[in-house]
Subunit: 148 residues, 2 copies
DNA sequence: AATGTAATTAACGTTAACGTAAACCTGTAC
DNA sequence: GTACAGGTTTACGTTAACGTTAATTACATT
């Protein structure tokens, strides 16, 4: 359905004195450079629940914020399931100590993973240095005619 | 088949004066804390080719080293396919000038990728720092009773 | 009326890296 | 002489995060 955000449509969800902006799925998709399919998938996983106009999804600011948080979580290396548990906690008991500590625990975990990756990368880099040095040496010898 | 590494079996692959150690699949699996299934899978993907005693796989030191490299590559986020191309490059014509040049080019590429990954990880870490700091602050305020 | 654009649901496809039977063989130990 | 421990192949199952049709609906424009 086109024109979800046209003036005519918006009459259904807000009036002249209540103009919270709404978004169609395509708009959000473009804004965050993802596909509508992804957004529907997030909903299917229980990460969002936009309202409807007829059968069309209508997103409010809170939904947009949620989407932003989902993507941010993904960038941080959280799975959708992990993001969902955070959301669920926030939904049932916002800003509780329990929730904050859960968040801290998760970030600690990710930090450990990242630390391991850093060490591995540094090890591989020195190994690359080795391989490269040996390559250059063999090449030099080849060109000096010492081999072949 | 049990006892691949028994003295009797080893007669087939080495004598009193040539004692390169051999490993059964289960030994390597335990040593690196993976399953035999994984090791067979790596072979299926062309990453290793252990010798056989009858139908049983027998691993030499070079195979063990390969396995170690595979696992390190995985920890670094390389796919098995990527690890394989690296192996293939090293295996084919290790001494030709052309191959050496190609290898150098490849290591340069990998180095660039690793550098990018390093930067990404560092960015993620600072983002995690941010999130964590805000969490701790909110927690502190909670405990000071400033928020119910 | 026809065309175009955006939306919907349903459901199967994809990729990587294995997990998990099932059915078999076989040397070693009790 | 049989049970066990470990090995074998073959092949289908699993997970995450979507991609990709397909078939349909509905509004907007020409």
């Amino acid at each position: 359905m086109a024109g979800v955000n046209s003036a005519k449509d918006k009459v259904h969800v807000m009036n002249k004195y209540d103009k919270e902006p709404t978004y169609a799925i395509g708009e959000l998709a473009r804004e965050f450079d993802i596909t509508p399919r992804s957004i529907r998938f997030y909903e299917e996983q229980g990460l969002m629940s936009p309202t409807r106009t007829g059968q069309n999804r209508v997103y409010l600011n809170k939904d947009r914020v949620r989407l932003k948080l989902i993507l941010r979580g993904k960038r941080l290396g959280f799975s959708l399931a992990e993001v969902k548990t955070l959301f669920d906690m926030y939904d049932t008991n916002p800003n509780s100590a329990v929730q904050l500590e859960a968040m801290l625990e998760m970030t600690e975990q990710k930090r450990a993973v990242l630390k391991q990756q850093l060490e591995d990368i540094q090890m591989l880099m020195t190994e690359l240095d080795d391989v490269e040095a040996r390559c250059r040496e063999e090449l030099a010898e080849l060109k000096r005619g010492k081999i072949a």
